[in-house]
């Protein structure tokens, strides 16, 4: 990829750079001595008509240091990019260096995670050290959406309850983190009919989890609920295969009030959990999934209560 709009600028930069370096050398040589018509010990510079400067010569090695910088500059320009588009004999690139450093870091840190990859996730969850690693990973990569305490927020699932959109087994959690999830609920207003129908279905949905609802609207909404059954099932218990939420519990991703449910029905919902597999690698995801699983399950080895386990690594 060229950084220049025109090949001219490439040459222009290169010539300017070289002229600058060589110019420094010429300047240094020409100024290291003066020819004068007298035997005086002054530098020959005269200011304000008669002010002259006594020549107290700098040590010669000092001058050589300057010449060395010129040699260094020329060698550098030969080896590294710097002269226009010339890539340098070493072919060095910042991106290559970054990749190399990344690979080096991976090589030194990955064994720590790969140790756990061979283990069952429930065993990993019970390991206090892995738990501490998982917690740090969670705070770094997951807490932005799911919260530092993993209890989520509107649109971001709570990970500490036993309710799961896509399944709460260690493997399902790992799958979710590795490949991400994309949950879509289409706008249903048209399929249901009028605004009244939407309200009725909302009240029926509320009744499923025992929330206060208008009995008449519930009955009327129940008939219309057939449009929702394809995903949420005949009893509204949801379907983890496609991430359709269970509507019969008191857990709401967006909110359980009549208005919010109506808004969900009318406009639909579209929600994405990004895939972390490529960025983190399977070994880290393995540890992370075990940690997330442990938030709502007691690993076999004794760990402290959930809230305390969020604290310092269990000793």
């Amino acid at each position: 990829m060229s950084d220049f709009t025109d090949a001219f600028w490439n040459g222009y930069i290169a010539v300017l750079t070289l002229l600058g370096v060589i110019g420094c050398g010429v300047l240094l040589y020409s100024q290291s001595m003066v020819r004068r018509q007298s035997g005086a010990t002054t530098t020959g510079h005269v200011w304000d008509e008669d002010l002259t400067e006594l020549n107290t010569p700098m040590p010669r090695w000092w001058m050589w240091l300057f010449y060395i910088t010129i040699v260094f500059a020329l060698a550098y320009l030969g080896l590294y990019p710097g002269l226009g588009e010339f890539a340098g004999k070493l072919g060095w690139k910042s991106t290559t260096q970054y990749q190399e450093e990344l690979a080096k870091a991976d090589a030194s840190y990955n064994p720590q995670f790969e140790r756990y990859l061979a283990q069952d996730m429930k065993a990993v969850a019970a390991n206090p050290q892995a738990h501490a690693i998982g917690e740090r990973l969670f705070l770094t990569y997951c807490a932005q959406c799911h919260g530092s305490d993993a209890r989520g927020n509107k649109g971001f699932p709570n990970l500490t309850d036993r309710d799961w959109l896509y399944g709460g087994t260690p493997d399902a959690i790992k799958e979710t983190i590795m490949h991400g999830r994309h949950g879509v609920m289409p706008p249903m207003a048209a399929a249901l009919g009028s605004d009244k129908d939407v309200e009725n279905v909302a009240h029926y949905v509320m009744s499923l989890s025992g929330a206060t609802s208008d009995p008449i609207k519930v009955v009327m909404g129940k008939n219309k609920f057939s449009a929702c059954m394809a995903c949420h099932g005949p009893e509204g218990r949801g379907n983890q295969a496609i991430g359709a939420p269970n509507l019969t519990d008191k857990i709401w991703l967006y909110g359980g009030s009549a208005e919010t449910i109506m808004e969900t029905i009318r406009k639909g919902r579209d929600n994405t959990m990004p895939a972390w597999g490529e960025f983190l690698g399977e070994a880290k995801v393995h540890v992370l999934a075990a940690y997330v699983w442990s938030l709502s399950n007691k690993p076999s080895a004794p760990t402290t209560e959930m809230t305390a386990s969020l604290a310092a690594p269990a000793k």
């Binding site: 003066v34 020819r35 530098t43 020959g44 001058m63 530092s148 209890r151 809230t307």
Partner: protein
């Protein structure tokens, strides 16, 4: 100067350095300088070996970013103390220089100290000033090369030991010692041992006075602290001139023996007055005093004195009356102020740090019972070397309470991120941000407590 006019002539702005062979000298100031040398170097070479609470007493652990100075453990957050230390050093330098000239240069500067050590080695191997000059002038010989080799080996040994000690302040020195037996240093340890060693060898062996003359910034700006009442190494021209042999009629006190020039490590003639090269090492005072004693004259033809004292013929008491002039008072006041501030800051320093980071993803969530819940991450740093359990306290809103464990335990010098949930009734605060405080207090040491402001958000 017999160069004829009108004949073009080349004047070079750079010239080869002329070797200086300082003559060895004893005397009271020389003894004082060696005392300073011993004191500073005992601290430098020795302190690395001291132990404190089962660890190295003075250790700057760059990898874990913890800086141990005896009982004190400083973290990167405490770098303000380093800035304060540098300010104290600077003000101290200003004040000392205003009062007594370049005593730092002459008595404590590592450049002077190591040059002194290297000169001592040189003298032991190559002999006195005249012997060294003879040796350098003579052609190649076994004697010459043997002595030169021995000198450089000895210099190299001192330099390597210096580099090793320096690195010993950053890597535990006993581990380093064990590693050195098998030459098993890490790459950076190798680099710094060799680099610092090479710098010592080059600066004290080869560069010497050039470091002060051409490289040192202090050397140049210290003269701006001088005034007419600053103690400087002074040649009493009124007493000394016209210089000449004792026997000559009407001669001054200076017998022109040139001892003061021969002992000068900077290669200057102090009788030309104050020069920027003069590092105030006092070698010429010792030399002149020795000569004056031998010829039965009073000491002090070259002495510590001030411009004013020389011009107005002040007695030492007169000089002392001019010490406390405004600039010295100001430097002193600033110095005391900063030292007092730093000392009290260190004394009151709480070895526990807390950062409250509110979860930014959520403003506040509604939970059962009409309560509002906010989530915070507490970044806690236990900067002590013991395990502590801290109680988490919250205040600032009625009904504000924490949901979850009320204590958190941190191991020695541990940093932990601890998530907490705070709950308050929705009507307890105004909609929007409410100011609250989160406190940590050690259960075993109530004085060990910190308090940080935070914001509790109530949705509208």
């Amino acid at each position: 100067m017999n160069a004829r006019l009108d004949e073009p002539r080349v004047i070079r702005m750079y010239a080869a350095r002329e070797e200086i062979y300082p003559r060895e000298i004893g005397g009271r100031y020389s003894r004082l300088r060696w005392l300073c040398l011993w004191l500073t170097q005992l601290v430098f070479y020795g302190a690395a070996w001291l132990h404190w609470n089962g660890r190295q007493a003075v250790l700057f652990d760059l990898l874990t970013r913890k800086f141990y100075i005896f009982g004190l453990v400083l973290w990167p957050q405490d770098f303000i103390y380093l800035a304060a230390l540098l300010i104290i050093c600077a003000c101290g330098l200003f004040m000392v220089t205003a009062v007594a000239g370049r005593v730092w240069c002459g008595f404590s500067c590592p450049q002077t100290v190591y040059t002194e050590v290297f000169l001592w080695i040189e003298r032991k191997i190559e002999g006195t000033r005249s012997a060294r000059m003879r040796l350098d002038r003579q052609g190649p010989s076994f004697n010459k090369y043997a002595r030169k080799t021995a000198k450089h080996l000895a210099w190299g040994a001192v330099a390597l030991w210096t580099g090793f000690t320096f690195v010993g302040y950053f890597t535990p020195i006993r581990t380093l010692m064990a590693e050195s037996l098998h030459l098993n240093f890490g790459p950076w340890e190798w680099f710094w041992v060799l680099f610092y060693g090479f710098a010592t060898y080059g600066n004290a062996g080869w560069m010497r006075e050039q470091v002060c003359k051409y490289m040192c910034p202090y050397a140049r700006f210290q003269s701006s602290m001088f005034d007419r009442d600053t103690l400087i190494i002074s040649y009493d021209a009124a007493r000394g001139e016209p210089r000449g042999p004792l026997s000559r009629e009407g001669a001054g006190g200076c017998i022109d023996c040139s001892m003061c020039v021969q002992v000068c490590p900077m290669g200057i003639d102090i009788r030309n007055g104050l020069q920027y090269e003069c590092i105030g090492c006092t070698a010429c005072i010792d030399a002149c005093d020795g000569v004056m004693e031998k010829i039965g004259q009073q000491r002090g033809l070259i002495r510590y004195s001030t411009d004013r004292a020389l011009a107005e013929h002040l007695t030492p008491t007169g000089i002392r009356q001019h010490v406390l002039r405004p600039r010295v008072r100001i430097y002193g006041a600033v110095l005391m102020l900063i030292i007092g501030g730093v000392a009290s800051a260190l004394w009151l320093r709480t070895p526990l740090k807390l950062d409250v980071i509110r979860d930014r993803g959520a403003l506040g969530r509604e939970v059962d019972g009409g309560m509002i819940e906010n989530v915070y991450r507490l970044q806690i740093m236990n900067t002590t070397e013991r395990t502590h359990t801290y109680r988490i306290g919250v205040s600032g809103l009625p009904s504000l309470a924490q949901d979850g464990a009320a204590t958190v335990t941190l191991g020695p010098t541990e940093t932990a991120a601890h998530a907490i949930r705070l709950r308050a009734a929705a009507q307890a605060g105004k909609p929007g941000a409410n100011k609250i405080r989160i406190t940590l207090q050690a259960l075993d040491e109530p004085a060990l407590a910190v308090s940080e402001p935070a914001v509790f958000f109530v949705p509208r």
